[in-house]
Assembly symmetry: C2
């Protein structure tokens, strides 16, 4: 997974926000409103992101149109998973993690957990999209 550099992040950010296939030209023009940047710089980096698998692309006339392979939130979740994976005592790591969470985050986390599987002790788990229905 690994994280992005500055320019890489700026590019991904735009593609994620726009949520549609975009050309190098569009990205360049948008970044250029904040700072000077050469067309080829952005093109090079987008090509690197493509080759590293973060973007897909398809021809649109002469230009390529790029799309992120993963959504912003998927990417975030991937980073979190990477981080967690490096720990030995995952339960302890998760404990530390939730301890510093805001109330809203904790609430969102509870909701997310309820959606993927029944609450321990409760019998009802047939609601919601059946995605991970693995019994313990």
């Amino acid at each position: 997974m690994r994280s992005f550099g500055n320019l890489e992040a700026a590019i991904m950010d735009r593609l994620w926000t726009w949520d549609r296939p975009a050309t190098v030209r569009e990205v360049v023009d948008d970044i250029a409103r904040e700072r000077d940047i050469a067309y080829t710089t952005v093109m090079t980096v987008m090509d690197i992101l493509f080759r590293k698998g973060w973007l897909t692309r398809e021809k649109d006339g002469r230009a390529w149109r790029y799309c992120p392979t993963a959504g912003r939130e998927e990417y975030t979740a991937g980073l979190m998973r990477d981080a967690l994976g490096e720990s030995r005592d995952r339960a302890a790591a998760l404990q530390h993690f939730v301890e510093r969470m805001s109330d809203e985050e904790a609430e969102a986390l509870r909701t997310a957990l309820q959606r993927i599987g029944g609450v321990p002790g409760a019998a009802a788990d047939a609601s919601g999209p059946a995605d991970a229905a693995a019994p313990r």
Copy 2:
């Protein structure tokens, strides 16, 4: 800011595993069992980790003894926090995150959530953001 290089990770890993103040000599000798490494290389990196705040140290005779300022799991939790913080829709990110979790992890997460504020509606009373720096 976050995340370590290879050598840095190897050093932190040993300090975390040993869970006691260790000298450069001890770390060097342990790493040297796997690959060639100069004493000064390890010393330099440990000094950098110290200056960056990842390690504390105290004199023990002629040598310094180093200790991590945060435990492995605290560090992991910090990485996860960093990752989550960059997302816009945190609820969605958390949803993606838990969806790919193993059953054991989900269970550990539920337990952790219960511990910080088991009852819905009740806010977790996080007392003091105490950064642990105590060697055990």
